[in-house]
């Protein structure tokens, strides 16, 4: 998901110092580079990698309420480093940002948190797993991340959820080394796509008990996107038969780049190369003064997938310091199910 990488590179530091500063330099000098030979090591890799420039813990969940309505939530912690080390106190070069979203069929709630590293206001530990910023938390069991407690709170909403994994971790690309462009940009990328979720959403109308499916993405890298890439469309789809699919398209004036991972019902993952996935906008919605595609056709011929994707709420706009679209979707066509869609650069 270079999508998120771009967010961080372009914008977290800008947000950090209001609009005043031009973006971060685009070189990765001094930072570690993703290594194709690296083998992911758990639980250590659940924790932060301060020697890399950027990293995130990104959880989305499609939910169904006791009131019969569909919901979606997002909980994200970004880490962005100004220098490849961790330090004590205010002089730590690590910066943290949290995004929380809650989507209902007719409302979309957003909150954002920012913090410096080194002072304890935000951070992540791998063993035992714990990620937090302010009072937002994602905490694991003594070992691993198979069960999580998740909470976040904004001005008009909050949620408290428990998540239990129903399958193994999925390593994207080549054993977690995920290539992002034809120039060879890459990241370390793994997911836990099979959480069973239960808990409560607190909405202006009162609490709602919910259950559903959660998907955690973990990714870190130091390299920016290529200059010609203008944005991306990213899909995480959970089909009713138990199979799952992660896919993205990076929109590039020099030719789009796509990649996908097919996850069988037993959790076995298969990485699919550039071009295997095609996505096509079918309809757009006017969101915050722009046209954002909120209906898509997604094809993965090698897995006989030809589905239409429909936003639960086309107005799922993340009006954070750097705005983007992220929300739950419904799947119809060759497969049915639910998923999450993220789009930037519109």
């Amino acid at each position: 998901m270079n999508a998120r990488l771009l967010i961080l590179l372009l914008w977290l530091p800008c947000a950090a110092l209001a609009q005043g500063f031009a973006g971060l330099g685009t070189d990765a000098e001094g930072f570690a580079a993703p290594d194709p030979a690296y083998r992911l090591d758990f639980p250590k890799d659940h924790g932060p990698h301060p020697e890399f420039r950027i990293e995130w813990w990104y959880l989305t969940a499609t939910l169904h309420g006791a009131d019969g309505r569909d919901y979606g939530i997002q909980w994200t912690l970004f880490r962005s480093a100004l220098a490849p080390y961790e330090g004590e106190g205010w002089s730590s070069p690590q910066l943290w940002m949290g995004h929380a979203g809650l989507t209902t069929p007719d409302r979309h709630f957003v909150a954002e948190r920012r913090s410096r590293g080194g002072i304890g206001q935000a951070g992540v530990t791998g063993d035992p797993f714990r990620a937090w910023i302010d009072d937002w938390e994602m905490t694991g069991p003594p070992v691993g991340i198979d069960s999580l407690r998740l909470s976040a709170r904004g001005r008009e909403f909050s949620y408290n959820l428990t998540l239990n994994a129903d399958g193994p971790l999925v390593l994207h690309g080549d054993a977690g080394y995920s290539v992002k462009s034809r120039d060879g940009h890459a990241s370390h990328y793994y997911s836990q796509p099979a959480y069973a979720v239960a808990g409560t959403l607190d909405l202006p109308g009162g609490p709602v008990a919910v259950t559903g499916n959660g998907w955690l993405d973990r990714e870190w890298s130091s390299q920016p996107l290529s200059a010609t890439q203008s944005g991306w469309d990213w899909f995480s789809l959970t089909f009713d038969g138990g199979a799952r699919m992660m896919g993205f398209r990076l929109r590039d004036s020099a030719g789009d780049y796509t990649a996908a991972t097919w996850i069988a019902p037993d959790g076995a993952a298969e990485a699919l190369p550039d071009g295997a996935l095609t996505v096509e906008p079918l309809a757009t919605s006017g969101v915050e003064g722009r046209d954002v595609p909120t209906r898509w056709r997604v094809r993965l011929p090698s897995k006989a997938v030809e589905v239409e994707i429909d936003a639960l709420n086309p107005q799922a706009w993340m009006a954070t310091s750097f705005p983007y679209w992220e929300g739950p979707v419904r799947i119809t066509g060759s497969h049915s199910g639910k998923g999450y869609l993220e789009m930037t650069g519109y």
Binding site: A18, F21, A22
Partner: protein
Amino acid sequence: MIAAAVTALLSHWRRQPGQLATLILGLALATGLWSAVQAINAEARASYARAAAQLGGDAGPVLKARDGTLRLADYVALRRAGWQVSPVLEGRMRLGRETLRLVGVDGMSWPSMPGQGMTLAPADVLLPPGRLFANPETVARIGAEADLPPRIETTGLPDGVVLTDIGTAERLLNRPGALSRLLVLPDQPEGLPPLAEVAPALELTDRGRQSDAARLTDSFHLNLTAFGLLSFAVGLFIVHGTAGLAFEQRRAMFRTLRALGLPARTLTLLILTELLVLALLAGLLGLVLGYLVAAALLPDVAATLRGLYGAPVDGGLTLRPAWIASGLGMAVGGALLAGAQGVLRVARMPILSAPGLLAWSGASARARRLMALGGPALILGGLGALWLVGGLAGGFLLLGGLLLGAALLLPPLLGALLALGQTRARSVIAEWLLADLRAQLPGLSLALMALLLALATNIGVGTMVASFRLTFTGWLDQRLASELYVTTATDTEGAQLAAWLAPRADAVLPIRHAETDLAGAPARLYGIADHATYRDNWPLIDADAEVWDRVARGQGVLVNEQLARRAGLWPGAMLDLAPGWRLPVAGVYSDYGNPLGQAIVDLPALLRHNPDVPNRRFGIRIAPDRAAALAEAIRRQFDLPDDAIIEQSRLKAQSLAIFENTFVVTAALNVLTLGVAGFAILTSLLTLWTMRLPHVAPVWALGMTRRALARIEVLRSVVLAGLTALLALPLGLILAKVLLDVINVEAFGWRLPMFLFPLDWLRLFALALLAGALAAALPARRLRHLPPAALLRVFAHER
């Protein structure tokens, strides 16, 4: 009819252009002084407000620690509980002669950082050495301080304020882990735990840091306002005198107009309109005057506020609509107040009344009784206000009550004195003179009150300033005991200097301090070496036994008088210096010219808690005759800039200069007030002049020459001025006492001993006599050259 009446009324001013000028000038002077003070205050306050706005959001609610020690952990705890707060660490940095306000904020959570449109990498700002943001003038004043992070010029910050990242501020101020306050951000999530639960040691206040500048300078502005009001009141006496004269002189005309059929109502309205037009004219002129005075004084005021309080004030003056409105309002209100008596009298004037000899002066036994009762009542009221209201406002109410009460008591007192004199008078002329004086008293009493107020204020403020200067000089001699003061650029250089000096000087006393918060307000914590210099010279005003031994053992802390008075920390009280560091107060020392709290502990104790306090300033003890040579040797050895080594005498001169600067405005207003009072006497005497003829003519007819009459005229005025000056002396001393014991303590936090300066009184007494003589000179001259026919005419027809 109305047109004719208007022409008739105005014809008076055509015939008496001097009177018109006096009336307008008097009102303009009153309005001008008042407006000047208002302009200065408004400008300063606008500067504070601008500074607050430019710092962004700092005006909102803030959290502060009740005990003054706010830690990073408190911030994190609140954040972890969900509260959206933004930390600020603030301190003062002394750079050269300038005190700068260093504001450290967390760029990640601060609502508005400057630097729009700049190309700056976040790493440059957030990581060491960091960047300092300041406006171009401040950057220029900081100059080339090698030790500081690079400066970034921005027009978005007030002068004298340096904004930086909180990490940089922490390093520069040497206060790791410390915070000054937490800004409560406007957007809070739902369902937060109550503050009392999360942070019981913190309190929510709506007053941001900016109000500290306002709070520190409040007393200064209140002082100016009080002076402005006093000038205004004195100015009104002039207006009252002149307006009264104009009414008196036109009495015949009024009667004629009424007899011709002009209704009393119309006449009153016409006179009121005339008064209003004159007031507006005078008000406009006063605004111009006020603007000029304010523009002349503002640079000094700004320098004082910046130097003494570190409060940002620009030297420039802007024209504000509110200021114009308030100036004109004061002029109109003042004119109505001063003219009310005359207008009322016209409205009620019986159409055929015979002219009373002292008809307009309002002199009656009843009025005098009222004054004799009202005076003490006002004084008692002032005392009651001090007791009930307390504080600075109570102090000023007491002053107001004292001054007004004394002014009201003046005419009855003078009357009694003159009556006493009359019983003792031997010659006929003396008896006539005294009787005449008594008769004149009601007409002159307002002018004399003005003189009393001006003289008493002069004595009071003069005594206060002079006592302060004397105390301050003595205190400087004690406090600045070291012969040389040296500042190095770095700690390393400091250590080298101390080592190099050890065999060459009698003693090297490090001057090291940490910026901190004591008793909930910014303060400095000094660490001192145990040395006789302190034991012998430090100006203690209250102390336990063995105070220095206790401090040297690390078992006691000294606090300055300001802190002691503000927080009630007298010997025996406990003071929180840092979390887990609490010491009993062993002594209190006087510390003039410093608005901040200060405390002193043993140096090793300070270093235990703040190991990194800079070690760059030293006091050096050496025989005075060798000081200059040593200074030269240090300069050669360490290549220090000229201003890094300061000899005691130069430091004293600098301190005194700052002190004098503080009272420039006071002195200027003082002189202006006295001038206005002198002018008031002149106008009153001129007013009385017309009514004097019926009194003087019989005496002239009895054989006294006009020359002798003129002499007596001057003598009369001089006697009254002299008596008033005599009565002003005790009033002035009481005023000084109140200023020193009440106002100063409240405004600055220190009590000063009172010294008496009889020579100053003599000078002022002479000045009062001179004012009386000068004021009478013109009427006396007229009398001397009056054609006898004019005197004869008095007998020929009554007015």
